[in-house]
Symmetry: C2
Subunit: 287 residues, 2 copies
């Protein structure tokens, strides 16, 4: 493009095209759903209209079993979580880092066997311990994540950074910070998520945050926010979801929104109420 | 509001109402504009249709002179900058911090005398020196800025955080980070700005960044971005402004956008070309 040569059509209707693709696809972490077995929980989720499950349960040795149970229930394996594993990919100690890399590869392989679309990963809980700083950790993280994200992508899954509020981590607080790490890692297998609870504490604008997440946004957690440490299920506190959903619509989000929340009262009643509430919020989110 | 009680009208037409208020109001830093005196520069700016000036020049003892020159030219005092001054408001040394607070108050008083809408402030150039960390600096910054921002607000001006790209600072990199500091400082006198050059390096989405800036966004710097260390004036490199302007329109931005950039060629020709280019970009930014 030459200087001052403006191709007007480049910017026509981008928003409308994108938002037409957006869908509210609900799933849930397992502890939220009533039931005595995964099968019972999956059946309940399907009956309530959820499209997927966040299988935040031990996967090793059970990959085929979980995959089959999901398929039988007609659910997608939306996501799993890295969880507690040996080593630490951002450790300054080479052996500790090596162990962490092995752990993460192993978990990604298990996630891929189950068919999970991605694996949530929190780089650091709490605050960096001296001499580590946000800067040193970020630099190491970007370096180590590139090959791991490529590895994940080859397996058909991805690594999803999970920003947390300041009470849980002071390293990665905002969706935009995670998205910037994704951009620097520069791999199709590197993504970020947004959690309405954490976001209500750390973001100044839900729509702005999700738009900054943009193409890197691969998962959303649903819970009521600010001044509600119980993370109530949507609709059980004052938190609204319209501004956030407007952001999701703007970027054409069609990945999962997952319940990670507490529920007061009878789950058999309250979860369907929350689903209806969220669908209404989604409709109200005009872009 | 009771549980599940959705007031639909709350979310009707917010975007349209906000964007109707948005205007592209241009101003410039002084070194960008040709002229042998402030008066000559102001006259040139007015002739080119700029509405204000970013008076990044020494103010002490010249407050009335600059105010009068601006008034004579029919320009608004859009902004000034804190610049290099004794002390440091985020120093761990009480005396150094006290000196910094005095310096900032003095500069705010000068800014208010000139009639400046705000004063740009960069908390930290480079990287925190151990034992300081982003966390320790942020905590001290939020504490010290509250009374200073209140002081600024009483004077009719404000303090405006300036996020910089990683080559210049690793403390405050994104508009959303600055906006979150503003929210935590919780004063009408605490604002943030966005610079298209720095943003092109650190933000994943210009629109998302400006929406996150939201009500805290008080100033914008205009320069071409990424892989152009010359920070060319808009139109002289490949950088587009439509997505960013879409964000400004969405939040109903009606504060200033200021040239902080280099200019290749004859400024008498190139600056008016850049102004025309920006007006076209603004028109293309449909929300």
């Amino acid at each position: 493009m030459k200087e001052h040569e403006v191709t007007d059509s480049t910017f026509d209707g981008v928003s409308a095209d994108r938002s037409a693709k957006a869908r509210l696809r609900l799933c849930s972490r397992m502890e939220v759903i009533p039931g005595n077995s995964l099968e019972e929980k999956f059946a309940k989720m399907k009956a309530w209209g959820l499209e997927g499950a966040e299988v935040n349960v031990p996967l090793y040795g059970k990959e085929d079993e979980i995959r089959t149970a999901l398929a039988n229930a007609g659910l997608v394996a939306a996501m799993t979580n890295f969880g507690a594993n040996p080593g630490n990919i951002i450790s300054a100690d080479p052996e500790e880092q090596r162990l962490g890399i092995e752990s993460m590869k192993r978990k990604l392989e298990a996630a891929a066997k189950v068919g999970c679309k991605g694996m949530l990963y929190v780089p650091l809980f709490g605050t960096p311990k001296a001499p580590e700083t946000n800067q040193s950790i970020r630099a190491r993280l970007v370096d180590v994540l590139h090959p791991l994200a490529e590895f994940a992508h080859e397996l058909g899954t991805c690594i999803v950074l999970e920003p947390l509020c300041r009470m849980e981590s002071t390293f990665l607080s905002r969706v935009s910070d995670g998205a910037a790490i994704c951009r620097d890692v520069d791999s199709e297998g590197m993504k970020v998520m947004g959690d309405f609870y954490h976001m209500s504490i750390e973001e100044t604008d839900m729509m702005g945050a999700f738009i900054s997440g943009g193409k890197y946004l691969a998962h959303v957690h649903l819970a009521g926010g600010l001044s509600d440490p119980k993370r109530s299920i949507p609709g059980q506190n004052q938190s609204r979801f319209v501004e956030g959903f407007r952001g999701l619509k703007y970027i054409g989000y069609d990945r999962f929104c997952s319940f990670e929340c507490g529920v007061r009262g009878d789950r058999e009643v309250e979860i369907p109420k929350a689903i209806a509430f969220l669908k209404r919020e989604w409709e109200l989110a005009v872009v």
